[in-house]
Symmetry: C2
Subunit: 422 residues, 2 copies
């Protein structure tokens, strides 16, 4: 446990979001307010790879204004990566190298901003550093658009994607409704969410009544039944004149085969998906003959800082701030969480979870959040999701474009002679 003044290391991990930089902002601003305990905040260039290669960024070189601007800037300002550390037994060299780098730069605090895989890494660093006689205070900061981290009520990054998806399908729904009589009758929008349908579910918020878009949501949690689906599409077109569909990239048949499967695999061993929207649209065209259009939002949804949820931004900031406060309070191998209060009006506070309880656990959508026909969300789901997209937090615009900060990202002088190959 670091009581003397030591430096801190911060890294962003995995897919970036519209608000992960808001967590960085909360963390750096809070660290700067605690200079007696925390020296400099070093960020890993491209996440944990920066720690392994001793490629550290000196955030103390950034102006107060630029750090504040992080709250309004999407993406990962220091770079992120999809490099997952193996177990200590399987790749001892990586852990030894990390501790070596941290020791050389007098780093007593390790802050890792990511999803389940990253919480696993942070937890291992806490254990290994102790074993190796250089104990480091490790605090995770939750981040994932997939909203699949356990214990925390929701994950920073999700609320903004949720808002983007709900806003987009509402707007596209209005568009299609006005043309459906003589043109496009079926619109399919593909959204992210590998195994959990949280993002797809958020699209459901746009539908305040049965006739509103989206009429159908295809969840990864519900086995795709072509016949039932086509019947529902046909019903919607007959009843409302058109049918707007939100489909999760993870939508799959009963046997687990994804509706669209690009076939390649990412560094974490997850299948890389994409292109389910055209598959679903073509199915509708072939079987029902309706004119269709489809959209694949892809990175646009998770980068859309211009329509970020204010709630999400505030929570992301608060998680970064709390991480520093927890570390200074001597808490180790924990992650701050968002706790929903049991009030009628949405209120939240900050809790904590052990990293060992968070690591590698995927929070699925509760069954009670999916309507009985499997095609929409329930009132319980709406109550859960609705506050998360609340509030707008617009960036500054100049000449019609949002002004996002690009940091100087000045490197810290390397102190180790040995290079490390990833």
């Amino acid at each position: 446990m670091a009581q003397k003044k030591q430096n801190a290391f911060y890294a962003q991990s995995g897919g970036v979001t519209a608000v992960i930089n808001a967590s960085a902002c909360g963390l750096i601003e809070t660290a700067r307010q605690n200079k007696k305990r925390i020296g400099k905040v070093y960020a890993g260039r491209n996440g944990i790879i920066g720690a392994l290669t001793e490629d550290l960024i000196d955030t103390s070189k950034e102006s107060k204004k630029d750090i504040a601007a992080l709250k309004f800037t999407p993406s990962g300002a220091f770079g992120s990566c999809r490099h997952k550390l193996k177990s200590f037994e399987a790749n001892r060299a990586e852990y030894e190298r990390l501790i070596e780098v941290f020791k050389a730069h007098d780093i007593g605090y390790f802050f890792y901003n990511g999803g389940g895989d990253s919480m696993d890494t942070a937890n291992k660093v806490a254990q290994v550093s102790k074993k190796m006689g250089f104990p480091i205070t490790c605090v995770g900061i939750p981040k994932t658009v997939d909203n699949d981290l356990p214990i925390t009520d929701n994950s920073p990054g999700f609320g903004s994607v949720a808002k983007y998806v709900a806003v987009s399908i509402r707007e596209a729904g209005f568009d299609v409704a006005s043309m459906a009589e003589s043109s496009t009758k079926v619109f399919v929008m593909e959204v992210m969410g590998r195994h959990a349908g949280w993002i797809a579910a958020a699209g459901g918020l746009a539908a305040e009544k049965e006739s509103d878009a989206p009429h159908i949501i295809l969840f990864p949690e519900v086995a795709f039944n072509k016949e039932k689906f086509l019947k529902k599409v046909n019903q919607c077109v007959k009843k409302f004149g058109y049918c707007a569909i939100v489909v999760s990239e993870g939508a799959a048949y009963k046997d687990g085969t994804f509706l669209a499967d690009a076939g390649s695999v990412d560094a974490f061993g997850h299948k890389q998906l994409g292109g389910v929207a055209p598959v679903v649209a073509q199915m509708v065209k072939d079987e029902l003959g309706f004119k269709y259009h489809w959209a694949v939002a892809d990175y646009l949804q998770r980068a859309a800082r211009h329509i970020a949820s204010e709630t999400d931004v505030e929570q992301a900031y608060a998680m970064g701030k709390a991480a520093v406060e927890y570390a200074l309070a001597g808490k180790n191998a924990v992650m701050p969480t968002i706790v929903r209060k049991k009030t009628k009006k949405y209120q939240w506070t900050i809790g904590e979870a052990k990293l060992s309880d968070v690591a590698n656990v995927e929070k699925m959508m509760p069954k009670k959040y999916i309507s009985s026909n499997g095609f929409h969300i329930t009132e319980a789901c709406r109550e859960y999701l609705s506050p998360l997209i609340k509030g707008e937090s617009y960036p500054t615009f100049k000449n019609g474009l949002p002004q996002y900060v690009v940091l100087k990202n000045e490197p810290v002088k390397k102190l180790l002679k040995k290079k490390f190959k990833i």
Copy 2:
């Protein structure tokens, strides 16, 4: 020329936009201020189809508040369609029916809100109504996301799509830049624009310096050269770490073959396109091996009222207003236009064009707007486009979602016994 008090007919035509309802708002509000000359404004349900089938909407039944809300609502509030009237010789019955309906409902003003095809229709109605002894004052209102109407400096609807595209590729560019070291290196975003590259060009506004996204724009105006393209992609990845590409749905090979061709044809005989982004992305993967992601914005781009350009909204409103004023001034077979003043700071005023000069003419991008290597926009293009995306015009949000109006759209009592089959 209508001098006595008569009713007006208004219809929305073709693909809807984020701001076509702002034109409707300008038109209806101005008509309501001129009750001595204009009785009621009847809107065609689903565009010109509503006129042919005598399915008229009585806009006088809508509250002042709801009409004002049209300024903030995307899509076509009365419904639009892709029905193109043939020549008088080829389908005399349609024109006779139109005049019959207009006569029955004492309609002396015909306002048609659409693109080049619609201006052609409005022009024909002006001619035919005169021939048939029931002269109607016909005024077109420009609308097209494609920005391909001639004479007018730009077309309402375009500025907002342009802003959406520029904002989106900037945000996605930030995202990819932060992950490129170990993940996605090439991002492809597909945008609309059949024959003219205006929308794709707008993406270029996001790049304020060479290293900014997008690094490559694929225009319909520039024959696609695979070898040259892949070389450029490779250069960008080497130089900037990643490559962000905006591709127009109309991008084509030298022989005119579209890079992606869905094969079907719409009511105007245009080929229906979609899906060029995955084609380009796969090409990059196959030849260069880079990890890719792609997005197809489709309707999201033209419906995105939440990020509409304030300039565009104001101009759309002004066109609707001017249409009424022109009609009341006795102008016939004209269309108000946007005229760019020759001032250093962007200023615009309202001009007029003859419908016969506008009809069926496509304004292409000038060659001087495309950089010499064919992959980006020039400074001249930037100067032209930049003011069109300026200003934000946010809708009201409630519970995190934009509040768009759905009108009552009460039908006008039918007066004709004869039905009409489209």
